[in-house]
């Protein structure tokens, strides 16, 4: 009887179980495997630095996944924005200005996706695929004019974004708090989830789908724009692979956090927060535990497929429901 209850509890709270279950598993697993080294002060510091970019993007992406858009352009856009920051910074030496331009570029690219999706009726993932190639293409082209790499002439200006851990923490805190409030306590978040579940019904309840999507894309764009700064600071210069694969890291992270990529009522901001921490711990823990670098992506892939397999399998075994 008790085990039955436990099973039905797990089924009903699958998202939370995946979220906290994988978090606990990773924390406990690596504590043992690394004999606690993973939580040494030094490693904690580097953990925070590593998770910053991913955390900021993931929080923004919850608004995209939440209303049912799978965005795969974030990595490429972040790469392009890093390039933009570098170019502006090299020209003007004005940090604030370069950040603003980065956010503007990112938001514009996201709004282009929004326009294509909302007005031309194209599938959102196709629009983001297009933007991914455009952004990646621009970066590759500009780099090809500059011997394949652009260095930051005044690295000291942005170095604090790597070295000063407080800046990372502050940026993450701002994004997390803003995300939590917007997603849980405002009209925007509620409309966003309703669209993810049932667009028709949302429309008939008075949701202005285009407007809600507009703001979701803007939020995603702003987050990617901000994250680019940390990405650049950690990279030190702009090479052709900058930001590559970040969109996939985001997806793995939010799925580890218990997010359903179709969006809807079960979407939670916690998926991004906990998921990012779990994912970063996982990647970092593997390294600290001494897994060879060549295997890490493979191990990540296996863990990803296991989590997806567990969650999807439960979706497929349809409980026999009264008709």
């Amino acid at each position: 009887m008790n085990s039955n209850k436990l099973i039905s509890f797990i089924k009903n709270n699958r998202n939370a179980v995946v979220c906290y279950g994988s978090f606990l598993a990773v924390v406990l697993g690596f504590s043992v495997m690394t004999k606690g080294q993973i939580f040494s002060a030094y490693n904690l510091k580097s953990l925070i630095g590593q998770m910053c970019v991913l955390m900021i993007i993931s929080c923004g992406m919850i608004f995209m996944f939440g209303h049912g858009t799978v965005d795969i352009a974030s990595g490429a856009v972040a790469g392009l924005c890093s390039l933009v920051i570098t170019l502006v910074l090299n020209k003007t030496e004005n940090l604030g200005f370069s950040i603003v331009i980065s956010i503007v570029v990112s938001v514009l690219l996201y709004l282009f996706m929004w326009f294509v999706t909302a007005y031309l009726g194209l599938m959102s993932i196709i629009a983001s695929l297009a933007v991914m190639f455009i952004a990646r293409g621009i970066v590759t082209y500009i780099l090809s004019l500059n011997d394949g790499r652009i260095n930051i002439m005044h690295y000291n200006l942005i170095m604090p974004f790597k070295s000063d851990i407080r800046l990372s923490i502050a940026a993450m805190a701002v994004v997390i708090i803003a995300g939590l409030i917007l997603f849980n306590y405002t009209k925007l978040g509620k409309y966003c989830k309703a669209i993810g579940d049932n667009k028709l019904s949302a429309i008939q309840s008075g949701t202005n789908v285009k407007a809600v999507m507009f703001w979701c894309y803007v939020i995603a764009g702003v987050c990617v724009g901000i994250a680019s700064l940390f990405l650049l600071a950690r990279g030190g210069n702009v090479g052709k692979n900058i930001g590559a694969g970040k969109e996939m890291d985001v997806m793995v992270a939010v799925i580890l956090g218990g997010m359903n990529l179709n969006g809807g009522a079960k979407s939670r901001m916690e998926a991004a927060i906990i998921g990012t921490i779990t994912y970063t711990l996982l990647a970092n823990g593997l390294t600290v535990a001494g897994v060879a670098q060549e295997y890490i992506t493979l191990v990540k892939g296996i863990i990803f497929i296991v989590i997806i397999g567990l969650t999807l399998r439960q979706n497929k075994t349809v409980r026999e429901m009264p008709r």
Binding site: I181, T186, A194, L200, I203, Q204, T207, P322, R323
Partner: protein
Amino acid sequence: MEEKRKLLIETKDLTKKFNDVVAVNKVSIKINRGEILGLIGENGSGKSTISSMISAIHTVTSGEMFLDGKKYTPSSRMDAIDNGITMIVQEAGTIDGLTVAENIFLGDEKRFIKRGIVDGRKMEEEAKKALLSIGIEDIEPSATAAMLSFEERKLVEVAKAVYYDPELFIVDETTTALSQHGREILYKLIHKLRDDNKAVLLISHDLQELMDNCDVLTVLRDGNLVETISKDEFNEDRIKKSMVGREIKGDYYRSDYDGKCDGKVIVRAENLESDTLCDVSFDLKEGQILGIAGLSGSGMHELGRAIFGLEKLKKGRVTTFISDKESEIKSVKDALSNNIGYISKDRDKEALVLPASIKDNLVLANLSKMKFFITKKTEKEFAQKIIDDLNIKCSSMNQAVGELSGGNKQKVSFGKWIGNDSKIIIMDSPTRGVDIGVKTTMYQLITELKKQGYAILLISEEMQELIGMSDEILIMKDGAISGRAQRSAELGEQDIISYMI
């Protein structure tokens, strides 16, 4: 006569449990050849579950079934079809992207293969025959299912089910989706099957329909078999009583026959024209229930959408007069800001967000009137009030709407609009697929809303409901209003049907 009917299928102590919930409890029924057996009962009484077990959609928890005296344990739906049992379900059973012919022969394409390729023409010819055999001439086998109306798709399913020469033909609440024309095709068909010494199991909420068509009626309540009544003992009051286990009072619908309305005009539709609508004009007053009758395809559903700003109008305008302010409705936004609510016919796909909680659903329609920041407390108080007011039965306000019964789901979709202070509510087939018990509550609720001064546009395919509830009925045909009828005790279905056809 009774003795001559040969037993086709028999269930013994058939039981079905969904987790811990007993849906069907030790039901033993006999279905004879040459007989139309009706199953009736409230929602959740186990009608669909029993038929689903017979047609192998559901597994059997315990108990046995016998077909022609032999033990019958179907392994799949195809197995059931091979045993001569076909079933038409409540939900859509066709695939949109396929043609009518492909839908009919889905899973059975092998017979049309010539040199490794499916011979489409031959399949379409055969499909045409299948359609003609049930008297449908105007559906093209080459048309894709998506191009057909819901009713036509249902008829395609009927053609498919009958094509396989069933010994037992199960019709599960299909008639609610059909217009009078479609119903007649189906009735003719089941009578023919009976005369051919086959058996029919007819499941419906429509008591009149069952009494008209069935030879025997089995009443179910809460998964138990209450009684089986043969045709000579049919009596409406008795059956209703046996269904709910209590006396249904006389005022099932509204009890008064006062169709006069002195309220102010609150909605005015003038010369509405769209792809389907054709010069439709009417006034809706405060405290009035305006019924809209028509066959499917008459434009009745589109009219409701048009008033809510969902339909593109070519000509004409919809105007509201809320507290003497005149405003034109051009979009859903206009409709909402002018206190119009709309309950779609398709409750599960359009009116509600099934995976979301009751609270979320109730709050959703009211968001436009709330502040940008919404605290949990505001939400909870708002939802709790509606849940209390409408007596929505749920384990908590955080329960997903998809888990509720049909009646409670519909209460949530009513609650959305009552909660956001709508003054005008457009209801498209509000009692579609709910049982008598819930219908009674719905009708009481609608009457109560009328008393409170709500203006209600009641679009329905059920004539009795319109006659019973409306102050005035507009009858639609080919997108235009073809007749009007005032509320009176003498008003009968025939008066309305004559304008519909």
